[in-house]
């Protein structure tokens, strides 16, 4: 059975690129672009991995992650966070909130795919 990833991202072109890359690796890809409803979307989708943008309309990636970690079923869910802000403080904040991997945009495709493989052993 294919592994399931949920892309929480609001940039159309980035969704396009990530979807292409992950599908080619054999992932089942779903996308969600609204921060405010992201948590319930994750609860409903029950993915094996979440790729979470840092800056989202409605609710920030950090807030979503924090809420997620408070749910017993999702405390251990692998989360890869992507940010375009590139500030050191953001990484620390994300690690405190319980992120599994933190990457700054732009990234190389190989890099992001390696990270995904590390997080979810197929």
């Amino acid at each position: 059975m294919d592994k399931h990833v949920l892309l929480v991202e609001d940039e159309v072109n980035i969704i396009e690129a990530m979807s292409f890359l992950l599908k080619r690796e054999g992932w089942k890809v779903d996308t969600h672009s609204d921060g405010a409803t992201a948590v319930s979307a994750i609860r409903d989708a029950r993915p094996d991995l979440v790729v979470l943008d840092y800056m989202l309309p409605g609710k920030s990636g950090i807030a979503i992650l924090t809420e997620l970690r408070a749910l017993p079923d999702f405390a251990a869910l692998p989360v890869l966070m992507l940010t375009a802000r590139g500030q050191l403080r953001d990484r620390e904040e994300a690690e405190r909130a319980g992120v599994n991997r933190f990457m700054t945009k732009p990234f190389s495709n190989t890099e992001v795919l390696n990270a995904v493989r590390d997080l979810v052993r197929v």
Binding site: E11, N13, A17, L21, Q87, K105, F107, S108, N109
Partner: protein, 897 residues
């Protein structure tokens, strides 16, 4: 004889030098705080002996030789006062301490509402009253000198010039008084050096008189019994005592003892401890008794031994001289010299205090511009006034001496003086025992009594016809018989002295009582009256400078307030340890008090510190000079403190500015962080897409042609987005820094709008319908047309991007006034929420969902441009849709960038 005169002058000079040394040592000890031995009951008693002046030393014998036992009255009056009325003295001393009284004038003035008029009257009376007395001392010393010089030779060369020697004696006394009386200004008018010097002189004169007495009784008469026989045989024993004179003179000397300025000085002002009065009340009469013991024997032996016509006033010196006892004669001279000098010094000190405090200082203060707010050194002015007063008073004494011709019996002059100062008695005693006494009563009583004294006693003393015409004495002034100086109201046959004393004191008292009953006291008088009469209710325990431990506690409380708790406690503890006391409170001895005063004065100023400490320890009031000095210091401190306040205000202003600047910087830093984060995000997002798709196209195999085209166009769009973003950032940066160069041109607003609509329309998807409401008004303006066009394009593009209506529409209309042009952009999209409206003109503020190509810089740029063009852009809330309004002046003040 000249040799012995030179010897005498030499011995006198050595004696004066010795007195200087004693006084100087005493002052040094007082300064160091080791003045305990200076202020003992014995010293106090001996200092009272200035009552016994040269008049008593020489004159008593002369008096006895002339008038028999009457001389005893001079000793009897004071003895009665000391024994029977010591409680009056005690009250005076208590009042003097609690009111910080500095002189008789001060006492009377303070009692009657601090009236300076009264003080001046008393001062003048005292100066006039005491002047004959000072003359008397000059006279006695020069007489004694002349006894040594012997009778004038035929050519007059060897004889003594009475006037010039009188002058030199006066000059010497003046110098001594100035040196010792005004070396430093003590706020409580105490003179340790002077007091100890006169105590020494008291011993010298007693020893001298007793030595002469012993020589006369055992050396000449041959023992007590032969002496008694000789006295019985002499005329003295047979002289009848005139009862009225006896009573009058006793009363007079008693009154003078209380009223004489110099007696007041040593009795009250120099008093250190009330308990000394009790001891002096028996010790001083003993001293007087010893002084009077040999008066009669010396007088009798002198009368028998010396040729008839010899001056009995000089028997004390001339008897030993006649017997060839030069040494004894010199000792006797020193005794008289001591009596004279101590009296003159203390009397002039007391008078100069009065003159400078009540006459010179008020005049100085009223002449000085600014009145009481004087800023000079008050002390130096007071000291100069004192010195000047001393010279004037002694000069006056010398003048009287010259005018009265140096003649007349010593006792007569002394009695005149006594009668003069006795006029203070009613006002003084009335003041401390009768609350009903008023200023009016005191003033009228004093003036009348004084006038009678001048008329009936002082002026006649120059001799009948000298000042008052002889006819006054025979038929009265202008023939008014009842005003004859020696026979008021036609009552004749009374002794002139008794007559003057009787009438002056009687009328003085009557007028004082009647005047007091008829007048109403002012509030201050009433208050002072109560404080004086009930002084024992107000001033608590009798205590000297050696106060109780309770005073230590008070001092501690005060010191803590001024020095701070820790420092004050440390000071007190250290002092207690030095004194060997257990606990933290030291004995408030003079050494400690001075140290405390010094410490305090560093904080509050010398005068204030002294006033505070004296107030607490001595239960004393504060004198006018103290207040002046305190006011002076306070003024300086106020000035200093207002300077500090200004400085502190400046500092807090600066601190405020710094805080503001810091807040601004912090805010800026936060803004900068947010801005950098935004920029990073806006730059990295397109780059992410570009990198991802370029890698896909490079690495992925088997991409379809359609996929390749799609991905390449994404890369293209994102590259354009990046470029536009960079352009906007640079544009905004230039606009914000004010470095933008504007190109003003004159043209029609319509043309700019038309151009903007065309340009924006070309880039849009064509869904937005743009409605232009053409205006007929003149739309000419002068501004930077390109920049204005940029704003319009931005607004149209925003409407294209964000208007989500079914049929998106933008209405553009222009309003023109003579000065301003106004362009409205009204769309039919979703209104911007209230919360977001405040932010839309800020950088990176995106509220509406768009196609993701905007970085949120457009409206920020518009705002900056409009500000540069002298106009503005605003969003006006609408019920539906959005309205952006752009306003600008027709002629932009472009220079105002």
């Amino acid at each position: 004889m000249t040799a012995s005169l030179n010897l005498l002058i030499g011995v006198s000079l050595i004696y004066v030098a010795f007195l200087f040394a004693v006084a100087f040592a005493a002052e040094r000890a007082a300064v160091r705080g080791r003045s305990g031995w200076l202020r003992t009951p014995l010293v106090y008693t001996l200092s009272l002996s200035i009552y016994c002046t040269a008049w008593t030393f020489y004159g008593a014998v002369g008096y006895a030789a002339r008038s028999g036992m009457e001389y005893v009255t001079i000793y009897l009056g004071p003895s009665l006062v000391m024994i029977g009325w010591w409680w009056v003295l005690r009250k005076l001393v208590r009042i003097g301490r609690s009111q910080r009284v500095t002189s008789v004038a001060d006492l009377i003035s303070a009692r009657y509402g601090k009236s300076n008029t009264l003080a001046i009257v008393v001062t003048v009376m005292a100066v006039v009253g005491v002047t004959p007395y000072i003359a008397l001392q000059l006279q006695s010393v020069t007489l004694a000198l002349s006894a040594f010089a012997g009778p004038p030779a035929a050519d007059g060369s060897a004889g003594l010039n009475m006037l010039s020697s009188g002058f030199w004696v006066a000059a010497g006394l003046a110098v001594f008084t100035v040196l010792f009386g005004t070396r430093n200004l003590n706020a409580n008018e105490r003179h340790d050096g002077v007091v100890i010097a006169i105590a020494v002189e008291a011993v010298v004169k007693l020893v001298a008189l007793i030595a002469v007495g012993i020589f006369v009784v055992w050396g000449i008469a041959g023992g007590v019994r032969p002496m008694m026989e000789q006295i019985d045989a002499s005329a003295l024993g047979t002289w009848q005592v005139d009862r009225s004179r006896w009573a009058a003179l006793t009363v007079l000397s008693a009154a003078a003892f209380l009223c004489l300025p110099r007696m007041f000085q040593v009795l009250v002002v120099e008093n250190d401890d009330e308990r000394h009065v009790q001891i002096a009340s028996w010790a001083f009469p003993v001293y007087l008794m010893l002084m009077s013991l040999f008066v009669v024997p010396i007088a009798v032996v002198g009368l028998n031994l010396l040729p008839p016509g010899s001056n009995p006033d000089l028997f004390v010196v001339s008897v030993p001289l006649a017997e060839g006892r030069t040494g004894l004669a010199v000792l006797s001279f020193l005794g008289g010299f001591s009596s004279a000098t101590s009296m003159v010094i203390v009397a002039t000190l007391a008078l100069s205090t009065m003159v400078s405090n009540h006459v010179v200082m008020p005049i100085y203060l009223s002449l000085k511009p600014g009145g009481a707010s004087m800023s000079g050194d008050v002390r130096s002015v007071i000291l100069r006034a004192r010195r000047l007063s001393i010279l004037l008073i002694i000069a006056l004494g010398y003048l009287y001496y010259v005018l009265s011709g140096g003649s007349g019996a010593l006792a007569a002059i002394g009695l005149i003086s006594f009668a003069g100062v006795a006029q203070f008695l009613p006002a003084m005693l009335g003041g401390i025992f009768w609350r009903g006494a008023t200023r009016v009563g005191a003033l009228s009583g004093l003036c009348l009594g004084f006038a009678i004294w001048v008329y009936a006693s002082l002026l006649p003393s120059f001799g009948q016809g000298a000042v008052l015409p002889a006819s006054f004495f025979e038929v009265g002034p202008w023939g008014i018989g009842w005003l004859r100086p020696y026979a008021f109201f036609g009552i004749e046959g009374i002794d002139p002295t008794v007559h003057a004393v009787l009438w002056s004191l009687l009328l003085n008292t009557c007028v004082f009582v009647v005047g007091s009953l008829l007048s109403f006291p002012k509030p201050l008088e009433r208050l002072q009256g109560a404080q004086f009469v009930n002084v024992f209710d107000h001033s608590g325990q009798a205590r000297g400078w050696h106060a109780s431990v309770a005073a230590s506690e008070d001092l501690m409380i005060m010191a803590q307030r001024i020095l701070g708790a820790a420092e004050a406690q440390a000071l007190f503890r250290a002092a207690a340890r030095e004194q060997g006391m257990i606990g933290h409170l030291p004995e408030p001895n003079p050494a400690f008090l001075e140290r405390l005063e010094r410490e305090l004065s560093a904080s509050v100023g010398t005068a204030t510190a002294h006033a505070m400490v004296s107030q607490m320890v001595g239960a004393a009031s504060v004198s006018v000079e103290d207040l002046l000095a305190v006011a002076d210091e306070s003024a300086q401190m106020l000035e200093y403190s207002s300077q500090l306040e200004t400085k502190s205000a400046e500092l807090s202003r600066t601190a405020g500015q710094l805080r503001e600047a810091n807040d601004k910087l912090t805010q800026l830093s936060v803004q900068k962080d947010a801005f950098l984060g935004q920029i990073s995000h806006e730059l990295r997002t397109p780059m992410t897409s570009i990198r991802a798709f370029s890698e896909i196209m490079r690495d992925a195999e088997g991409l379809s042609a359609a996929e390749k085209t799609k991905y390449a166009s994404i890369i293209h769009v994102e590259a354009i987005r990046l470029t536009r973003l960079l352009d906007d950032l640079l544009d905004l940066s230039v606009l914000e820094n004010g470095q933008v160069s504007l190109n003003p041109a004159t043209g029609r607003l319509d043309a700019v709008l038309d151009h903007a609509v065309i340009t924006a329309g070309a880039s849009g998807d064509g869904r937005l319908r743009i409605v232009r409401h053409k205006t007929t008004a003149d739309t000419m303006l002068t501004t930077d047309m390109d920049r204005l066009g940029q704003v319009f394009i931005n607004l149209i593009t925003n409407a294209q991007k964000y208007c989500r209506a079914e049929a998106p529409q933008l209405e553009i209309s222009v309003r023109a006034t003579p000065d301003m042009l106004r362009v409205e952009f009204r769309d039919n999209g979703t209104p911007i929420p209230d919360a977001a409206r405040a932010l839309i003109f800020e950088k990176f503020a995106r509220v509406a969902e768009g196609d993701g190509s905007g970085a949120g810089l457009g409206l920020a740029i518009c705002r900056e441009i409009m500000a540069r063009l002298g106009g503005d852009i605003s969003h006006v809330p609408q019920a539906s849709g959005n309205l952006f309004v752009v306003q600008m002046p027709r002629a932009a003040a472009l220079a105002a960038q």
